[in-house]
């Protein structure tokens, strides 16, 4: 029998429907793969085997009766940021020790409604703060990819590093993830997987542990563009419990995948040609342009003049919102509690003990930029710059551009414990230089694997779309995927 874990989500779904195998068999194959590989990859922080098997049996009953939803019997991994009722939900933080919510996030509810099976909760950077998955309380996730002729361990990117690694290493058919500054697209690019951050408001934030509420958005990581589209259709939808959820019909995203790019205008922003950008990234970008042209798209040079200010503005807005959102972890309502001589002492000791270094650094920055006397100079200035960043995109879209093509990351996967990045937090932040503009403007963005660097590591391209036009991103992303024609399967060493 073929290895069921190697099937795409679309192929697994077809196989289940045709009764070639059962969800119990498929789920069992994934649980075996997790059992065999997770101690080396550290992608899952909790495995829910019994629940998965029970869900699979229920799916099999529905499938046998010719019923079932669009994800019936498909085993998924869920980022630890999503509240799952009665199951480990700790945002990979010490401060949420033993937290098991009494409720289910809207996005995961949608997935179970559509028949999906939960394999477990996936590792991530603590509170989604990081670009290498090294800030997790549970230790780093290891990228299934290694450079040619090397055993050195690489990061899978972050913050959705567990999601990306699990999808790439066949430890789930697809995964949920979240993206505040690039946390879906950067790890997808570093693991040869497809990740899409939908338009702000497309997926409900209800029941997703909050980091920076005006930027956070859930989305899928999957092995193909089509799989990502299938996941997105189930995850999306209006939710009255999220005040910024948008009341808009959800298209069948998978139906747009083979639409092609004929007649589309693709913008190439000159500001994304950064100083010191590796030649391989530039070459990949040019290759992407050539592929889209060959399929009938028109390519146009454009300018997004405020691009370079997106990352510094992000490092004011995101920490400011985080310092407010993370005020709720106080040792009283849930999670870790240290003993203090009075209530303030209890707060201060619990938070010093429960948060990791990167989280504390960001809370401190956020507290500072919101404090009396600095609010206008930092926070209001950053929000004005944010208006300008969004306006840059509005101008090019109004000018007839349908989507924007850029590199996804400034480099391929780097080593665990990179000394330069450890010494200077800003160096780590620069990983998100191409992705963060999209969050600042609330737009959809997809990362698609498009090539490999000299060491054989995957590299991705990013497409940025108009608000609520994810369909164009799936169509153009599919053209890149098909034109590249590369098998993005890592050599199994785990």
């Amino acid at each position: 029998m073929t290895d069921l874990t190697r099937l795409t989500l679309a192929a697994a779904r077809a196989g289940l429907k045709a009764k070639e195998f059962t969800s119990s068999e498929l789920t069992g194959a994934y649980l075996n793969a997790i059992e065999g590989g997770n101690s080396k990859l550290n992608a899952y922080v909790a495995v829910t085997g019994e629940r998965a098997q029970a869900q699979a049996r229920a799916s099999d009953a529905r499938l046998a009766a010719g019923q079932g939803g669009p994800l019936e019997g498909i085993p998924l991994g869920i980022k630890d940021l999503f509240a799952t009722k009665g199951v480990h939900t700790q945002a990979a933080s010490h401060i949420l020790d033993a937290f098991k919510p009494e409720y289910e996030s809207s996005v995961t509810s949608n997935l179970w409604r559509d028949g999906a099976v939960m394999l477990g909760k996936l590792n991530m950077d603590e509170f989604a703060m990081g670009s290498s998955n090294e800030t997790s309380y549970y230790g780093p996730v290891i990228n299934p990819w290694r450079a040619n002729n090397s055993n050195a361990q690489l990061v899978p990117g972050g913050s959705s590093g567990g999601s990306a690694a699990a999808v790439s290493a066949w430890l789930c058919a697809a995964a949920t993830a979240t993206d505040t500054g690039g946390s879906i697209r950067q790890p997808a690019a570093l693991t040869g997987t497809v990740g899409i951050k939908p338009t702000y408001g497309r997926c409900s934030r209800w029941g997703v542990v909050a980091f920076a509420s005006s930027l956070d958005q859930a989305g899928p990581i999957a092995r193909t563009v089509e799989d990502a589209a299938i996941m997105m259709t189930s995850m999306s939808g209006f939710d009255p419990k999220d005040s910024t959820s948008v009341d808009l019909a959800v298209p069948d995203f998978a139906a747009a995948v083979e639409r092609g790019v004929k007649g589309l205008v693709i913008g190439i922003p000159r500001e994304y040609r950064m100083d010191g950008m590796p030649a391989e990234i530039e070459a990949l970008w040019q290759q992407g342009i050539a592929w889209l042209k060959a399929e009938g798209a028109t390519v146009r040079d454009i300018s997004l003049p405020h691009t370079k200010y997106a990352l510094p503005a992000y490092y004011i807005v995101a920490p400011a919102e985080a310092s407010s959102n993370l005020a709720r972890y106080d040792g009283v309502k849930y999670g870790l509690r240290d003993t203090g001589k009075d209530i303030t002492d209890l707060y201060e000791l619990t938070r010093a003990d429960g948060f990791g270094r990167e989280v504390k650094r960001r809370i401190m920055i956020g507290t500072y930029v919101l404090s009396a006397g600095y609010y206008d100079a930092y926070y209001v200035q950053a929000q004005k710059v944010r208006t300008l960043i969004k306006r840059d995109f509005e101008i090019v879209f109004n000018d007839g551009v349908d989507a924007v093509l850029t590199p996804a990351t400034p480099s391929a996967a780097f080593g665990i414990g990179d000394e330069d990045m450890k010494a200077d937090p800003v160096k780590m932040y620069l990983n998100d230089v191409f992705t963060v503009t999209v969050n600042m403007a609330g737009l959809p963005g997809i990362a698609v694997p498009a090539g490999k660097d000299g060491a054989g590591l995957p590299l991705g391209l990013q497409l940025i779309g108009k608000p609520f036009d994810e369909e164009t991103l799936f169509a153009a992303g599919r053209v890149i995927e098909r034109s590249a024609g590369i098998d993005f399967s890592p050599d199994k060493w785990w």
């Binding site: 937290f99 702000y200 490092y315 849930y334 999670g335 002492d345 401190m364 500072y368 950053a382 937090p425």
Partner: protein, 95 residues
């Protein structure tokens, strides 16, 4: 603008995060690195630009003012480290 040791301690207090004496210098250096990086925003001409309040144009939805949820205090306190009779327990605040 840059922060000094006293400011680091003051921010720690505002954020309710205990900063030990031995950590102050590291925080000071790291915060100044980040503040140095964001300083470049000052060069952007923002005259006449409104600060962003909502990334998607929308007015906040309103709903009827009625109770739609609740009535399960035991669930609310289920994850609390210390509770009594469905109340959160904290050290004495008022003498």
């Amino acid at each position: 603008m840059s922060v000094d040791a006293a400011t680091v301690k003051r921010i720690g207090r505002l954020a309710r995060i205990r900063i030990e004496e031995g950590e102050v210098e590291t925080y000071r250096t790291e915060l100044n690195t980040i503040l140095g990086f964001v300083e470049q925003l000052g060069e952007v001409d923002v005259s006449g630009v409104e600060p962003m309040t909502s990334v998607m144009p929308m007015t906040l939805r309103r709903r009827e003012d009625k109770v739609t949820d609740g009535g399960y205090p035991e669930k609310i306190v289920a994850n609390a480290p210390l509770t009594e009779d469905n109340f959160f327990m904290v050290p004495k605040v008022v003498e």
